[in-house]
Symmetry: C2
Subunit: 151 residues, 2 copies
């Protein structure tokens, strides 16, 4: 699968999450060979699991698919800049590349806040790419969700 | 359960983790009423799950026990200073208090590295206590494990 297709799929997963009443963030994990390992969205409310961010769910599913707790060479696509929990998990899992759409100045931990991958206590840094082409749409999915919830 | 008993139990869980071949870190979660909600150690290798740190497992088990993705008022006891993933999860889960034994200058994210709870992008800060009484023993469990693995 190509980058454009994978990030578009992550955005579709974000929209599906919104329909389930979850904060709409979606993620896709591709193997080193570009094959789809896992896709999913937030399921925090559904699973009553505070750690059930889209990224965490696809990393865990990917590790199960590979039967390996290390996701070396994989690429993780996310509709939103990951938080500290998810960035920390990516380092632990040795994810090779992170591609995300919208920035999250309020809760992101990659380009904002702790900028975790730049910390000397971070022992594995994925290649990081923010894709402007899908940033506006990914942000709009989130704004629509919160606007509807307030309304 | 009292603080001393809970942190001692976290250290017992760390020792059990070592016997399973896991990096020996243990954790205990008490409810707002002091009742034991969950206890456990790392199971990364066993579960082939890069996110299966002791803290993550007990937070997830505690949320299941309370049938609530928020762990408001709970106290999390850990044998080692939590990493960025676990600190991020604690903020997400609204853990009330964090009590840990040994510091982790190389990978910790509470008193070291990103000092996540001090970041403006951290939206919930547990009360943090480092207990010197159990720090040496918790560190020794880790050193013994890595010494044996190298030997």
């Amino acid at each position: 699968m190509e980058d454009g297709e994978a990030i578009a799929l992550a955005l579709e997963e974000a929209k599906s999450a919104a329909l389930r009443g979850e904060v709409p963030v979606g993620a896709v994990l591709l193997g080193a060979d570009g094959a789809l390992l896992a896709q999913g969205g937030n399921r925090i409310v559904e699973l009553k699991d505070p750690t059930a961010h889209a990224e965490m769910l696809v990393m865990r599913a990917g590790a199960r698919a590979l039967n390996n707790e290390r996701l070396t060479g994989t690429t993780l696509y996310v509709s939103l800049e990951p938080c500290a929990m998810c960035a920390g998990a990516m380092a632990m899992a040795r994810v090779g590349r992170l591609v995300f759409a919208a920035c999250d100045p309020k809760g992101g931990a990659v380009l904002h806040g702790p900028r975790f991958f730049e910390q000397p206590t971070c022992h594995h840094r994925p290649v990081v790419e923010q894709v402007e082409t899908h940033a506006a749409e990914a942000g709009e999915i989130l704004r629509d969700f919160f606007r509807a919830r307030r309304g």
